[in-house]
């Protein structure tokens, strides 16, 4: 591969519009700068970082170049990305706590019970909120399609439908197999089953990623009124609160159970692929970390929304003043 091609490949980290505007000049600069010596790894990483920042700016997640309403929309979409991560981790949590209540009985588990219920209700209310947000934007999507804009949103939507269909087919097959297996085999006793479940989990994670990416891509293209964007941002802020409840509940549940029921934490999911002898097993650590990552993204989005609302209010006051 020629040096120019290598530099052009590096520019893929930047948004398309930026590349068409500045790409040639930047490639020429890199050719001149690294004419004698190769480009160091640090330089390549710096370009990648700059490209990602430029994409974030274009999306309205960074900087103040876009309007307050666009920044509110971007902040809300960042919250949606965080929600996808929390939902994914929540699915791990649901699998981990499968049969938890029926296997353990007796008093003295108030905190873990309350935490578990908080996680469940946080998840349910969060899903309701996301559904309300979807209902809010569907008329705008229909209007876009009717106005001949299907081509601009076709690719992410078709991709999501295909990946979703694959996940549904895999899930049906997995459930059908699982129904023929005894409890022990389904919970670590059968290594091939654990591998298939691991593969299925990866597919679900990819499907969630593709669907979230499509939702972000499509919503960015929609014509949304100021009132609708403000409603969506309010939903996003409330969703962040539920994500915090889910995270806190999961953490409280895991810590309480690792202290009060270490045997369950060690044995509940058997001795297969996902387990070890710790009372705070790796799968719980990963679950909590992914939730934390999602929550961090959501808080960042919420702060972005709050700042944009503040800037929008200031602009409004400025417009009203003589």
């Amino acid at each position: 591969m020629s040096r120019s091609n290598r530099f052009e490949r590096l520019l893929r980290w930047y948004p398309t519009a930026w590349r068409s505007r500045y790409g040639a000049g930047m490639v020429a600069l890199m050719e001149d700068t690294y004419a004698t010596a190769g480009m160091p790894l640090r330089g390549r990483l710096a370009i990648m970082r700059a490209g990602v920042c430029e994409r974030a700016r274009e999306a309205g997640v960074l900087g103040r170049e876009t309007s307050p309403l666009d920044r509110q929309r971007a902040g809300s979409l960042l919250v949606l990305c965080g929600w996808a991560a929390v939902m994914l981790a929540g699915a791990f949590f649901a699998k981990f706590t499968d049969n938890w209540n029926s296997l353990l009985s007796g008093g003295g588990r108030t905190l873990s019970n309350v935490s578990f219920i908080a996680v469940q209700w946080g998840g349910v209310l969060g899903i309701v909120l996301v559904a309300v947000a979807v209902v809010c934007v569907v008329p705008s999507l229909v209007a876009l399609v009717r106005a001949g804009g299907w081509a601009s949103v076709r690719r992410p939507i078709v991709r999501t439908v295909i990946v979703g269909a694959v996940v549904v087919a895999l899930t049906v097959a997995l459930v059908a197999w699982a129904h023929h297996l005894p409890y022990r085999d389904r919970n670590g006793g059968l290594i091939p089953y654990e591998f298939v479940v691991a593969g299925w989990s990866v597919t679900v994670a990819i499907a969630v990623g593709v669907a979230t990416s499509a939702a972000v891509s499509v919503t960015r293209r929609l014509e949304l009124s100021a009132r609708k964007i403000q409603s969506l941002s309010l939903i996003a802020v409330t969703l962040t609160f539920f994500m915090f409840v889910i995270f806190a509940g999961t953490l409280a549940w895991a810590v309480t159970e690792s202290l009060d029921a270490p045997a369950f934490m060690r044995q509940a999911i058997g001795s297969g692929l996902f387990t070890n002898a710790s009372s705070f097993p790796p799968v719980m650590v990963v679950t909590v970390l992914v939730m934390l990552l999602g929550l961090a993204a959501a808080i960042t989005g919420t702060v972005r929304v709050a700042q944009a609302r503040h800037d929008g209010a200031l602009r409004y006051v400025g417009d009203q003043s003589p």
Partner: protein, 125 residues
């Protein structure tokens, strides 16, 4: 925590690459590589391609610089009237900051000379 305010120049505080680029363009139109070499020469700072073009993008968006016609892939830029005003305001701020810093540092060194510990080694005004 310090609260950031937008200065008169329109350039955010500590926006060093932007000020360096405007300073470089104040002496004439330049393309990316020429800017990079000029800045390295007068400030001793090497701006990587990502940083340089990030700053160029922001400056162009704010109308402080503009591209000039070119047949080459190397795109030259020139400073605009708005850019000159922004640079002037940024340099004035730096001058004020420099004066205050110099005056306070001078007072501190003078006090140190009178103190039993003596003056700070290596400092002279």
């Amino acid at each position: 925590m310090a609260k950031r305010t937008t200065p008169v120049s329109g350039l955010e505080r500590n926006n060093e690459p932007a000020v360096l680029i405007l300073t470089s363009l104040a002496s004439g139109d330049k393309h990316g590589y020429a800017l990079s070499k000029d800045i390295e020469g007068f400030a001793g700072i090497v701006l990587g391609p990502g940083t340089l073009y990030g700053a160029i993008t922001r400056l162009e968006e704010r109308g402080l610089i503009e591209p000039t016609p070119s047949d080459d892939r190397r795109q030259p830029y020139r400073i605009t009237a708005g850019g000159l005003a922004a640079l002037s305001a940024a340099l004035e701020q730096m001058r004020q900051l420099s004066e205050i810093g110099t005056s306070r540092l001078g007072a501190r060194i003078a006090t140190s000379r009178l103190a039993p510990g003596g003056i700070v080694p290596g400092y002279s005004l």
